[in-house]
Structures are given as C-alpha cells and as structure tokens.
C-alpha cells in the first residue's frame, strides 16, 4: 500500500478482555515498530521487528503485551487482560532506509478500556 495502515482505527473494550491490533507496513519495509501514545504525551517505544524477529522488545510494559510478525510483513500487537491504564493510541511505523532510520507512521489505533 501507499502508507502504513492500522486496524481498527478505534477499539473499545472492557477491563479484563483480550485485544489485537493490526499493522500493515509499507510494502517492502523490513523494520516495523510499535509505539504507544498516551494523552498529552509523546510516543513511547514498545517493540520493533527486523524481519520476523523482535530486535528490541525492551519497551513492552509487562507480560500482558505481546507482538508478532510471522511472515515479516503484517504485525499484530496483542494485549491480554486489558486494564484502564492501557487506554492510549497505539502507533505503528515502518522503515527500510539503511542509513538514517527514518520511520513512517500509521494513523494509529485508539484503544479505550472501560
């Protein structure tokens, strides 16, 4: 596609439920990143993939959060036992430019946990 796409654009769930957020990177981009942006704050790094493997997952807040990228393209961020504090906009970015790490961001998924 022309840009990074994320689905759904909005997700409302109840505390304790499981959610999956999907990211479709720019075609051919080898690196894929997940960030979380809480209201009034800058994006906070969660995890990034180089190909199919997680190259850095140091930003995942706890073991309720997990992400996969099984075929090196689409990625899914999975959150178990959601809590109200998980409410945020989840941003995905991709890059394929060796040399300057420019990342292209999707529109985000707004997650609301009631």
């Amino acid at each position: 596609g022309a840009g990074v796409s994320q689905t759904p654009s909005n997700k409302v769930t109840e505390k304790g439920k499981y959610v999956e957020l999907r990211c479709d990177p720019i075609s051919g981009h080898t690196a894929l990143y997940w960030y979380r942006q809480s209201l009034g704050q800058g994006p906070e790094f969660l995890i990034y993939f180089q190909g199919t493997g997680a190259a850095d997952d140091s930003g995942l807040p706890n073991d309720r959060f997990f992400a996969v990228r099984p075929e090196g393209s689409v990625s899914t961020l999975k959150i178990q036992r959601t809590e109200r504090g998980d409410s945020a906009v989840y941003l995905c970015a991709s890059s394929n430019r060796a040399g300057d790490n420019e990342q292209f961001f999707g529109p985000g998924t707004r997650l609301t946990v009631l």
Binding site: Q41, G42, P43, Q50, A98, N101, E102, Q103, F105
Partner: protein
C-alpha cells in the same frame, strides 16, 4: 540511554510571526535527530531529520532546524508561521543506527492567532 526534553509545553504565536521550538537531547555519541508534526486526528509526519553533514537542515513546509552539538540542541525554526501550522510538534532522537527505536520528547503544542 537517550532522552529528549522540550521545555515549552505550549506556544502561541501570531500568524506571520517567526517561530522557534526548543529541543534538547541527551546521548553520548552523535545522534540521529528528527522533528515530527502531528495534527489533530492525524498521524505523525516527518518534518526534517539530521544524521550527519551540514548542521542546518531544511525540511518540508518551510521548516528548518540546527544541530548544535555543544548545546545538545536541535531547535526547530520557521520564519513566518501560517495558521495551518497549528499542531503538536515532537522532537525525537535515535542512537545512530540504521534501524532502531526512536525516543520522543513530550511535545510542544503550537497555537496560531490569526
């Protein structure tokens, strides 16, 4: 570890006036530096980036930024602000690798008075 500070939470300028948004970073080596803009309901858009060479970089929409190693700063400037520039601006720093997480500052919200 890298970190970014943006001292101004909110700035208001008149249309046509000049603009400078401040950014200070902390990183031991030469960083990759970025400025992103986020309009309401929109994704993050890259304005400009620095990773080597000329310390004054030109970006889109008439923005420029200057890397000053001695001050650990990467301030964003525009000589004449337009009403459409009203948005949230984020400075970000990377570790100088081709693929790596990026650390964002807390953002500066810009309002433009007609």
């Amino acid at each position: 570890a890298q970190s970014v500070t943006q001292p101004d939470i909110h700035i208001t300028v008149s249309e046509g006036a000049s603009l400078e948004l401040r950014c200070n970073y902390s990183y031991g080596a030469t960083p990759y530096l970025f400025w992103y803009v986020q309009s309401p309901g929109q994704g993050l858009q890259l304005l400009l980036k620095y990773f080597s060479g000329d310390t004054l970089v030109q970006g889109i929409k008439g923005f420029e930024a200057e890397f000053k190693r001695s001050q650990s700063s990467f301030n964003l400037r525009k000589p004449s602000v337009h009403w459409s520039d009203a948005a949230e601006y984020f400075c970000a720093v990377g570790r100088g690798a081709s693929y790596d997480k990026v650390i964002f500052g807390p953002g500066t919200s810009l309002s433009v008075i007609p």
